[in-house]
């Protein structure tokens, strides 16, 4: 093991490098437990960041641009949520459309440009420590984690998420406002994705149309790896949090051992398949033994 592995700054680095993904993963967990999926998160991240960059390039002030970017994320979530919750289309397809469409809007906004030159305080927010040694995004992550835990595991809303994930009809017949729950989750997902996009823009210091492209797969992988059932109704944030730690450490460990991105993705891909296969194999072995 590399001696650099356990240093405090490395642990912060380890979060910092994937912080945007793991913030979004928390909300994705809620959505998947609810029996839906949001494939469009990475595109919404890109869209929000591009909106921010576009507005600043047009001379709009940073606070206003950030607000607009977050509102843009809410709007994206609103569109996804409307078609899933109120029109009743499958979220896989709606958010696939979103994945392609919002990325398209991001491209329309920035075209071929890369826009940077953000104010110092904004890039510092993404790049410098904010509270003690902790960067701002890490604090955001902790806050989102706590809020998500409170929502999913402690609140009545969280109970509704599970019930809907286990069967929409039972929830409906029990007086649960199914559409409203789904719609709010998509709103949350859109908002958090936009927030993550803004954070990413701050960390990178400039924005291109392809910002965060392809992140959705890693985000979903972390959630599924955390034991959340792709069919909805089961899973916990503890599992997701552990999976996040596992993925971050694996990536970091492999990175420090100079294994590059693609070996890492092989390992994570295999891990994902194994984590889904193990419960089945165990039950099979158990029935053999019995």
């Amino acid at each position: 093991m590399s001696p650099h592995y356990i240093s405090g700054s490395n642990i912060i680095n380890l979060f910092q490098l994937s912080i945007e993904k793991i913030v979004v993963a928390l909300i994705m967990a809620l959505l998947i437990i609810n029996g839906e999926i949001d494939l469009s998160v990475a595109s919404v991240m890109g869209f929000a960041a591009c909106l921010l960059a576009y507005l600043t390039s047009q001379g709009v002030g940073m606070p206003l641009a950030i607000t607009a970017a977050l509102l843009g994320g809410l709007a994206a979530g609103c569109i996804n949520g409307f078609f899933v919750a109120y029109v009743g289309l499958p979220s896989l397809v709606v958010t696939l459309a979103g994945l392609i469409g919002f990325r398209g809007l991001a491209r329309v906004l920035l075209e071929d440009r890369a826009i940077g030159g953000f104010p110092q305080w904004f890039t510092d927010l993404g790049q410098k420590a904010f509270l003690g040694p902790l960067p701002f995004a890490l604090i955001v992550f902790v806050v989102v984690l706590l809020v998500a835990v409170a929502i999913l595991h402690l609140s009545t809303f969280g109970r509704k998420i599970y019930v809907i994930g286990n069967g929409v009809d039972v929830a409906r017949y029990s007086g649960v406002a199914v559409a409203r729950v789904k719609f709010s989750l998509f709103l949350m997902s859109g908002f958090i994705a936009a927030l993550a996009g803004v954070l990413y823009a701050a960390r990178l210091g400039s924005v291109r149309g392809d910002l965060a492209q392809g992140f959705e797969l890693e985000i979903i992988t972390m959630v599924l790896l955390g034991g959340v059932s792709i069919f909805g109704g089961s899973g916990s944030l503890l599992g997701v949090f552990l999976a996040i730690l596992l993925v971050l450490n694996l990536r970091n460990g492999m990175g420090l051992a100079n294994l590059t991105g693609n070996s890492q993705s092989i390992v994570i891909g295999v891990l994902l398949i194994l984590s889904a296969a193990v419960p089945f194999l165990v039950s099979k072995v158990r029935s053999r033994v019995a």
């Binding site: 402690l154 009545t156 019930v163 017949y173 029990s174 007086g175």
Partner: protein, 507 residues
């Protein structure tokens, strides 16, 4: 279609010898033997969980027996899979027909055939399908997709499939559970027709009258054991029930009416386009208003309208004197209505979740504790109280409902809705598919609730149940209210006459 030779007293077509089957610690079947003769209708009786379905799954190769043998025509055979069993002439029709909604009727009949060559010959297939359906007197368009067919039509297709496969043993697991009386009647004719062709039929039903009308042989199971097999003439309903439950048990006794003053729900000319129309009735405090009719008569839809799932388009209803027109179940629940669904597994309970979570669900807001968070302790306390009150058999109220037996699940479902402390309780088929013991308990409990002053709307296709529990009975047919009968005027004959549209002749 060539008729098979009729031989009523031939040697056994199928024999099960000393079959045992366990699922983990559950001994679903222990040392069970059964003999099936050609051209007989052989009924299996037993409480829920007695092992009937397990036995037929072994006959059709879905499960493999732990011990014992299966003989066909005297020779031992292995049933490797349901397809294998079909090839050997043994097929099953389940309570919920298993069709392919996207394929058309003819394909549904023939898709399982292994011997028709590598190509689909569409025109030949349509012709043959039409012939088979005609031969059993069913009129369904063979080119229509199976999606959207009625349950009865779907069962006809299953039977056509069995005929096309030239089966010799046809197993029917609770085929009438969701059929109207008229549709059941058609099915019985078909069964007799098949028997005439020499097909042996294994028939499972919880309805005694059907069993005693149709069977040649009656077999009783209890707790995974074979209790008796006798010709029908040697069995009475009472003796069979005694064997099923292991004790003597009276049939339903009518309850004493407790209806008091004060109208809880009043419904005036309620209607929903294309579903039901002009339904009017009142329910008073402590009154049980029965709803009788054939399946599809629209009783559930009236309940769903009042519960806000599929709101009414016409007419008006008042609850405790205030207008009642819920647009969602939430509004209905807040208004004081509870609806115990007929479909426990799909609509009633969240099976992977605990009883306490299920019981608190409709009124979750009442279980808020600190900071508006959910209080699990409060939930458990309430659930535990219901566990005692309803004699729910479960190790813990935190255990998943899905692992409980059907009867206990039904009690949890009742608890869930009683927990809302409703003014009006709508019970839709509250005892469907649960065994006699649990059923009696549920009946007892419904009576108690009425005695305590709750207004109850009881939708049931179990005529004796409606007749013995209700104070008054509304009979529906095809979305119309045919009659509202006082308890003293209601007999099975009168109710059925109204339900089948023969009310005028009967009156």
């Amino acid at each position: 279609m060539a008729a098979l030779p009729v031989e009523n007293h031939g040697s056994p077509v199928m024999e099960l010898l000393n079959i045992s089957k366990s699922f983990g610690a559950t001994h679903a079947l222990q040392d069970v033997s059964l003999t099936l003769r050609p051209g007989e209708i052989h009924s299996l009786l037993g409480e829920n969980g007695a092992g009937k379905s397990t036995l037929i799954k072994i006959m059709t190769g879905v499960h493999q027996p732990d011990r014992g043998a299966i003989h066909l025509d005297g020779a031992p055979v292995q049933m490797a899979s349901s397809a294998d069993a079909q090839r050997k002439g043994v097929a099953a029709i389940y309570q919920e027909p298993l069709l392919f909604p996207d394929l058309d009727v003819a394909e549904n009949i023939f898709i399982g055939h292994q011997d028709r060559g590598p190509f689909t010959r569409w025109s030949t297939m349509y012709e043959e399908a039409a012939q088979i359906l005609a031969s059993i007197g069913v009129q369904i368009d063979v080119r229509a997709p199976a999606r959207g067919l009625t349950l009865a039509e779907q069962q006809s297709i299953e039977i056509a499939k069995a005929i096309s496969l030239k089966v010799r043993v046809l197993i029917m697991d609770e085929p009438t559970a969701s059929l109207s009386a008229y549709e059941s009647e058609r099915l019985f004719q078909l069964m007799q027709d098949l028997r005439g062709r020499g097909v042996s039929i294994v028939f499972i039903s919880h309805r005694m009258d059907e069993v005693f009308r149709l069977s040649d042989t009656v077999t009783v199971f209890r707790d995974g054991r074979h209790i008796s097999s006798r010709p029908r003439a040697d069995v009475t309903p009472q003796s069979a029930i005694a064997e099923m439950v292991g004790r003597e048990m009276g049939l339903l006794a009518p309850r004493a009416t407790t209806a008091a003053e004060g109208v809880v729900l009043s419904v005036d000319r309620l209607g929903r386009d294309g579903v039901f129309e002009d339904v009017s009735f009142e329910i008073r405090k402590g009154e049980i208003l029965g709803f009788a009719g054939l399946v599809g008569a629209g009783r559930t839809d009236v309940g769903l309208a009042l519960f806000g799932i599929a709101p009414a388009h016409h007419g008006r209803a008042t609850l405790d004197g205030r207008p009642h027109a819920p647009r969602s179940p939430r509004q209905a629940i807040d208004g004081g209505i509870a609806y115990v669904s007929e479909d426990r597994r799909q609509l009633g309970l969240s099976l992977p979740m605990s009883s306490s979570a299920n019981i608190s669900l409709p009124v979750l807001d009442r279980f808020k504790g600190m900071l508006g968070m959910l209080s699990r302790r409060k939930e458990a306390e309430v659930a535990d109280e219901f566990r005692r009150r309803l004699h729910i058999k479960t190790a813990s109220v935190e255990a998943p409902v899905g692992r409980m037996s059907g009867g206990n699940q039904q009690k949890v479902l009742l608890a869930k809705w009683l927990n809302t402390a409703p003014r009006l309780l709508i019970l839709d088929e509250p005892t469907r598919g649960i065994d006699i013991g649990a059923k009696a308990e549920v009946h007892q409990f419904i009576s108690e609730l009425a005695a305590q002053g709750m207004a109850i709307m009881l939708i049931s296709s179990d005529l004796p149940e409606v007749l013995s529990l209700s104070d008054r009975i509304v009979v529906m047919r095809e979305g119309k209210q045919m009659a509202t009968l006082d308890r003293k005027d209601a007999t099975e004959q009168v109710v059925m006459a109204h339900a089948t549209g023969q009310g005028d002749q009967a009156a």
